[in-house]
Structure formats: C-alpha cells, structure tokens
Symmetry: C2
Subunit: 580 residues, 2 copies
C-alpha cells in the first residue's frame, strides 16, 4: 500500500498534491452525483469527494468500509473550522475497497448512547471511537513521560514475578494452582513491595517498574481486578529528597501531556491538618469550604449532644455551604442521610438568613454561642451551616464527605484544574478493638519518625510514620514511605504489633533474613497509573483508560472470561470444583 499521508495531516499548503490515503469510512453523504466521504484513521479525518458515476465500486461503500484512495488535494469552499483538515478536501481519481463492514452495533463517534455492557462486548468498536483512542494515546504519552524522567535519573526498570507466594496480610489474593506441586498455589502479586525492597538490598539503588497488580476485591468505578502501578524504590535518600524528585517527575508529566506548568514544591499537609481542614486524607483543595473547629464555642453548652461529645473528648466542627440556606426539608434529609452513611449519628443544620441563625437547635444555644459561631464561621447571607459533633475522626470524615458532595453539586471541581499536594505524617499504627492489637497502618516495614520513638512503649498511637501520599484533585495518586533498615527497630515494631517469633518467621520469613546482610536505608512509593490516566484524560472511570477492562462483575463481556474449563485441565492441576 502506498499511503502518502495520514488523514489528520493535509493542509492548505498541500493543495494540488497527488495523495494516497487509507482509512475507515466515518460518514458518507450524496449531493447529486457527488459523494462526500469522511475518511478516518488514528490521526483524524479527511473529506473525500467522488463523482459517483466514475466508479461502480463507490456505490456499495458504507460506514466502516476500509478504502484506499488516490486523488488530488483541493481547497474547500465550505471550510470546517472544527476539523484540522477542514480547509481542504481530496478529489478522488481512484478508489479501492480494502474491506467491507457490517453495520456496527454502536455508532463510531465521540458521543455514544450505548450501554456500558454493549461497549465492553464490542470493545474493539468502542475503541474505534476517536475519543477512546485519544485516551489510550494519552495513557501512552503518560508512561513515556514518566519513563523519560526515571531513565534520566538513574532508575533501572526491573520486572518482578507475577507468580508469587500467597501471604496472609493485605487484600484477598488471586491464586494459581500448581500442576507440578500438587496442592500448592502461586498468588498473583498485590504489589511488588517485597521484591523492590530486595532489589535495594541487592544494591540497585533506584528501581522502577510499571507493574501489574492484582487484588481479588469487589469492583467499583475506580477498581479493576488488576491495575497498573508505577512502582519505585530508592536507596540512600531522605523522604524530602524522594518527594522532590517525584514533584519534578509529575511537573514534567503535566508539561509533557497537558502543556501545563504546575507549581513545585507541592503543598504539604500533615495527616492531622488534612483531616482537620478537609475531613479527608486525600483532600481536594481546588475549592474552599474548609472544615472549621468550633468545639471551644460550646464548652459549656445547653445542647446535650454537644455537651456529651465534649465530655467524651470529641470534636465539633462545621462546614459552611454558601448560598444554600434555601434548601428544602427534603434536600436536607438527603444530606443527613449521606452524613449517616459516612458514620455520623446525626447532623445539625443551621441557616443564616437576614443576619440571623435559625434551626432546630438554636433554642438550646445562648446569644454568646450564636455570636461566636457567626464570627468564627464569618457567616454570610444565605449560608447553610453543617455541624457534626462526634469522635474527632468521625467528625472529620463526615464533614469531609459532605464538603466533597457540595463541591460536586456546586460545580467547584473543575476537570481542567489540577491540584497536587502531599499528605505526610500518617500515624504508624491503627488499633483494632476487635483483635485487641495494633496493626501497621501502611505496612510493617514502614519507618517510624525517630523523634516519636519515645512514645513507642507507653502509647504507640502517638508514633508517626515517615509515610507520604500524593493527592491530585481529591484522588490518592499514590503513596509510599521510608522503610526500616535497622533489625533492632524492626524487632521493636513486631513486638508492638504483638507478633511471636514463629509468626514473624511464618509471615515474613526470608524477607526478614534478607535484612541482615547489609541493607541500605531505602524508601519508595507507587503511583496508580490507571488513576493518573483517568484524571489527566478527564474521564469519569478508569475503565475508559484501560483497553479491555472487566465489568463491575469482574467479567469480560467480550471474551466471556471467566468461563468453565475442561475437567481434564482441573485434573492436571489437582483441584476439583467445590459445589457445596
């Protein structure tokens, strides 16, 4: 085939050139004996003009036929400013039909009303829609930009095993029965965590990998059976050095892919500040409506709920929603429902109209309290005030969820605005009431802050980890930590988490051994590639940036996977289906 140009390429300066084009028929319309065809390929669309009487073949051409045409570039009379090639058209001398096409079950255009299951069943056609191609092209541009940075900064890409060992910690594993070892199973990796740390012990110093990771969890809009993470680990660097490098990498990414200059260093919020101000450990700071602390106003309050909350050491906070004092009872009920879904026992709503605060609890409040509220919250006419009084974390979480809700409702989350920030200083441990013990919040190899080690025996909950998350527009893009490299500190951590020698050996076995042969100080992080691609391509779901995703039921509507298999296959793998 002698294609001379792609369909996105021709301009006024090409007029009078003889060209050969290839592509799919995107649209065909007749005008007397003239036939106009929009010919499409990956790069765009070119308008073709035929004289129908000149060719028998052209009569049968319909949408999605593949043509090879020879012709001459002409200036268009009716130019199309929305098309890059809109100033020209190609007057065709010769046409060859390369392939025909049945009528497609979904229309090949950016706009579609096809159901998602239809789109997934005919994914090869869904991906023919230019908007979908652009998303996958952008995903490639993203990985290319990230690789470029890492390759230029001494990182080595190393592949780690996909058939690994099942571990009891973490999410549910996907298992792969072994044919050679009856009754034994491989597990697909939830992340290359252990391997990347081993590579630091090996002395590779800087590692990266675009790693496929697997978690057998129920799916949501931003979850798939497997996902791709940009996984990194570095030796001999501090947390701030790692963060600075990542900021450079992300700034380059935004420049390469979106043409935007984003400011560095990013805003850094401690976990505590993020929770206090945004009610979230992944705050979206493209908009305000921050949480405000009002516990002190009610230290001696007549409203029993507030009084009890303070007595229990809880926290009272408010979010002020501008111009929403006119919400109906029904609307308020919905908000209250949302608060409860996020763990609140109740939600106090007040309105500020005609310079007065109104609402059912006002009768329990003093003039002084109302004035303090007015002043602290800097109330403006028609403000809606949402108040939650509960344990600190619950108060933060609930108001964070409501803030998020109103951010969406009020259209404050601009898709073409990109706000990066770090959340740092996460607590090292989480206490499980159920199990009566501490768990590592990040993972058991995370390095604690040295200055907090004085609390380790008396109150482990006061110990913070050198862990950090990157947040973009309210999504956790990724996170990581410095790791422990001192065997004694590691032992102490295991002790706090109540592990016995035997449990340590069973759970962490060879990995703990490895640490004794000269482990460098190291740390790293991982970014969710699907999520980055989703946000930068301004998509609503990660399914839009994955070529062949599973549906919410973990099924591929195109290939039908997973399916029943031949009984002989199971026999070879020494397993049976358990029908009970």
């Amino acid at each position: 085939m002698n294609r001379t140009h792609t369909n996105g390429e021709l301009r006024l300066s090409d007029v009078n050139k003889k060209v050969t084009l290839l592509g799919w028929v995107a649209k065909r319309r007749n005008f007397g004996s003239l036939v106009f065809i929009d010919l499409r390929d990956r790069s765009g669309i070119t308008q073709l003009v035929f004289d129908e009487t000149s060719s028998e073949a052209i009569k049968e051409v319909r949408n999605e036929y593949i043509l090879e045409v020879e012709g001459t570039v002409h200036e268009r009379k009716d130019k199309n400013p929305n098309l890059e090639t809109g100033e020209i058209e190609v007057v065709v001398d010769k046409v060859e039909i390369i392939n025909s096409a049945k009528t497609t079950p979904l229309i090949i255009a950016d706009e579609t009303d096809a159901l998602e299951d239809t789109r997934l069943k005919y994914r090869y056609l869904d991906l023919r829609r230019p908007i979908m191609q652009k998303k996958l092209l952008m995903r490639h541009a993203i990985t290319k930009s990230l690789r470029g940075y890492l390759d230029d900064h001494g990182f080595v890409e190393i592949e780690t095993p996909v058939l690994g060992k099942s571990t009891p910690e973490g999410a549910r594993d996907y298992l792969v029965p072994s044919r050679v070892h009856p009754g034994c199973f491989y597990a697909l990796p939830q992340s290359p965590q252990l391997f990347k740390q081993l590579l630091m012990i090996s002395g590779f110093e800087r590692y990266y990998q675009f790693a496929r990771c697997f978690r057998d969890e129920d799916l949501r809009a931003d979850r798939q059976t497997d996902f791709t993470q940009l996984d990194m680990e570095m030796s001999f660097l501090s947390d701030v050095e790692i963060q600075t490098m990542m900021e450079e990498m992300l700034a380059k990414l935004m420049k390469d892919v979106k043409g935007l200059d984003i400011p560095t260093p990013f805003l850094r919020l401690s976990y505590e500040e993020a929770m206090n101000r945004y009610g979230s450990d992944k705050p979206d700071n493209r908009f305000g409506m921050e949480l405000q602390e009002i516990t002190d106003i009610f230290t001696d309050c007549g409203f029993q709920v507030f009084k009890d909350c303070i007595a229990k050491g809880g926290s009272i906070k408010a979010v002020v929603v501008p111009d929403k004092a006119d919400m109906t009872r029904k609307e308020i009920d919905k908000i209250t429902e949302l608060a409860k879904k996020n763990g609140a026992k109740g939600l106090v709503t007040l309105k500020y109209m005609h310079e007065e605060i109104s609402g059912s609890i006002v009768k329990f409040l003093t003039e002084k309290e109302l004035n303090a509220l007015k002043e602290t919250l800097a109330l403006k006419e028609n403000d809606l005030i949402l108040i939650v009084s509960d344990a600190w974390e619950t108060t933060c979480n609930v108001l964070g969820a409501l803030r998020n809700h109103f951010g969406t409702v009020l259209g404050l989350k601009k898709k073409d605005e990109f706000s990066f920030l770090w959340v740092t200083d996460f607590p090292m441990f989480e206490y499980s009431e159920e199990d009566g013990r501490y768990y590592a919040k990040h993972h058991p190899f995370t390095r604690p802050k040295q200055e907090d080690m004085k609390y380790i025996d008396e109150d482990p909950s006061k110990v913070h980890a050198i862990a950090y998350d990157v947040v973009l527009n309210g999504y956790e893009l990724g996170g990581g930590s410095l790791r422990i490299y001192d065997s004694k500190m590691q032992e102490k951590m295991f002790e706090v988490m109540g592990f016995t020698e035997e449990q340590i050996h069973e759970r962490f076995g060879f990995f703990v051994d490895a640490f004794q042969y000269g482990t460098p100080p190291h740390g790293g992080l991982a970014f969710g590639l699907d999520r980055i691609a989703m946000i930068l391509s301004e998509s609503d779901s990660i399914r839009d940036v994955i070529a062949f995703p599973k549906n919410a039921n973990a099924k591929c509507p195109m290939s039908d996977a997973p399916t029943p298999v031949d009984p002989q296959q199971l026999e070879e793998l020494h397993i049976k289906i358990d029908n009970e």
Copy 2:
C-alpha cells in the same frame, strides 16, 4: 546523606577533592595500621584508605557492611589498570557505619562456585554480584532502545488483560479460579495475539507491548513459567515493510547496547533453504559446515539403505567436519547416539585420509560414487563425513543437530559475534497423521501466500504462509506473520482444517465476529525479550537475565512459592484439592 560521587566516578582529575561516598564493603585488608577497603556501589568500586588508629568503628567493619565516608581523593602509587577508578584512592577522614552485615552465604564477586539453588535462595545477594547487576542493567538498556525506536515510529503501547479466557488450542494454560463466578476460571495469557489483532480492528494501526506471557510447560534452560515478549502489530504494511522496520529496530539495538554496526537487510532464507543448508529452521550461520545434498550420487546404489531411502522419495545429505577423521570408535558412537536421539535410524560415518575415503559402507560403493562424493563434498585431508539417509525433514533435522554439536565442540560459536537472519515461507499447514487432519503451523489466522492458493484444495501441504522468524546465532528471537483479513479466506482455512461451524464458534467465537466490522490488512510479530537479553549479555541461561526466576522445578527457592494456602481461601474460590 550527602553523597557527592558514586564509586565508579572518581578519576585522576578529581585529586584533592573532598568527597562523600556511600556503599558496601567489597574487600578489606590491613597493612600495618592502614586499612584498605574497596567500597562498592552499582557504578563500581573505589579504594578507601583509613588509619585504623583514628577510628574505633573501623575495627569492626567487615565485608558487606554499608559505610558513609568523607575523605580526600589522592593519586594511587600502585595503580590498578583493571579498575576504572584504579588511578586514585580516597583517604578517609570520617566514617559512619550505616548498617552491619552477617557473613553472606555466597561470595559477592563475579566468579562464584555457589550452586544454582543457593544463588536462587539468596537471590538478593546473587544480584549484588556486579556481573549480575550488569546483566539486568543491560536488559533495561535493551528495552529502552527498543521502546525508543517504537515510540519514534508511531507505535502505541497498550496493555492487554492478564486475566483472560482459557482456550483449547496451544500450550497448557495457567488457570485462576474466580471467586465471583463459582466454577469459572480465568486463564493467564499465552500471548496477547487476539487482543493485538482486535486493536488493529480498532484502528490503532501500530501497537506494541512488553507483555508477560505464561505457559504451563515443563521448564528448560531457556524456558520459564512466564516470559516477557515484545509484542507488536501493524496495519496496512506488507511483510517486507514490517521486516525492514524490524531490521532498523534491531540494528539500532545492537548499536545502542553493544556499540556494533550490523548489516541490513538481514539474510533471508526460505524455510526450505534453511532446512536444506543448515538442517534447522533457526540456523546458526556464524559458521559453515553446511549440509550437502548427495542423493543424486546414489540413484543406482548397491548400499541397500541408500537404495531404499531413494525409493521412498527420501533424501541423502552429508555434513563434512574438518580435521575430525581421527575420532575414536567411542567418540563416533556418541555422535551416532546423538543422531538417533534426533530421530535418525542410523548414521553413516566416513573418513577421508591419505586421499582415500574409508568406512564400513565403502565396500558397497562404486569407484564412481566415491569419486563423486569426493568431488561434491570437496574433501580435504582428515575430514570426517557424516551421512544421513531418511525422509527429507528427518535427514535435515538430524544433520542440523550434528552440525550444531560440532559447531560447539569446535568452538565456532563466538559469543561476541552476532548473526541475524530471517527465515520465511513456512508451510501453512502441518498434517497430523494421528488426528487425520491439517493444523495451522503458525496459527489459524495466518495469511497464506496468494500464489499458493491454487493448491489449497488439491494439496494444502504446498501452501506457504506469509510468516517470518528472526534468528540470531541459532536462536529464534521471534517471529510473526501477516494475518487473514478477508472473511472468505478465513472460512476456507477453517474448512481445510476440518472445523465445523460449531467448533469455529466455540473456539474463536467473538474474534471471528469482530472481523466483519471493517478489518484492515495487518500483521505483526513478537520477540522474546529474555532470550535477546540472554544473547546480548552473553549469558548461558535466561535465568541470568530475570531478576527472580523459578528453578527447573517451577519453584522459587527464595519465597518457596508455590505453597499450600489457607483452606478458607480455597473455600472462597469454590475449589477443593483433589487428592486422588
């Protein structure tokens, strides 16, 4: 940490600089009160000099301890020309022990006598050996070079599913039981073949992916449970256009990674020629000793074996091994054994000494035959002549194996010589005597040569495929084909292979449907990355270029995977272990 330089970096021009270095103690030796330490990191080794009396800490330092040192660069008296930093040493003022190390179970040096299972059990230490690091760094350099070419030539990297559908054709699948769909299984991909063809139907035009592929087959030196292939597919290109692009890509690779200019275009051999001349469809042409056709000499032969062979339409060929006429009976027996292992019923060996051919069958041959042999084979003093008479394919295969054997024995396979070639024109079909039907030799979607379609009904074995393999030094690096894009031709192929409508639907289902919506002419190929890395890094096994490989028993001696799992995990997956 304030590292100013790496350990491979300092030169004479740095003398008198104050430097801070980090790394592992590779060697320590005392000389009076002076201590010499070789400090190692990824980039190399620097010699440190300490005054032992100056520091208490230095006394306890042993191999594989991690140090941070400050000191001054001095010119060395006894320069080491084998070391890039061999002209300098660093006289240390200040040392900090970053971490200690137990005695390692294997020595951290290029040369090792450790058993492979020890190396794999302590892989993190095996990978600390500089020679192993170099191999993985080269692997990264290889992928970087290949990506660079593809990114510059309009290829899009697209990830395809790891959790796919099990198909009855091909090798044995690894299966993954589904929790959500009881009794159903995903399969790990043997290759992204269907998906990459679907991406062409989607109109991506040029696709690539470094894809992890899985085949549950028994392992060999160049096989693993999973392997990485550079997978590519292109639309609207001819086989020669695809091959030319690949030659450019590989020439760039050899330049980037080995600094070598390799000639393009590569030699092209048809399958038939490759078999006739080298007895292999992946010939190593770094050396001669080609197979020679001698059937015609024996058309009227008194030696019954030759006579029968010719009567059955077989082929008699010879390989001449120079300077090996002095092989002992025992050595010849070994060669005969090897011939039989490769399918020969027997092996005729002749010797050419004192201008005479000798050997047990000489008494059955005429003077004319002996003279013809001498002339055709251009015999030289002390030549050993190996003759096989059998069906054409067997004759070729056996002599190809013997040629290979002597190529190794005679040291003709130079590891630093790289010879690329194409093998083309493979037969489209293989006939299975057992099943009484034709199978596709490559896969059922391979495009046949148009000019052979006249034989399709009368003798399908005469039909060649537009399929091509790239061979490097006797290894198949990769291969591919143009694919069928015409539904009618596809139907014809299925007919030849004896598939019913139902079988077609069951086996190829949605994929055959997809072809009806405007499929472009397309083709592609895949390269085995592990094998490329093995050859270019001059390694003996692909395990040397995989960070964490499995052993020959499909086990990871480090993590112990695969292992038994918790019964509850199996219950959730609706499977039981079958102990029968």
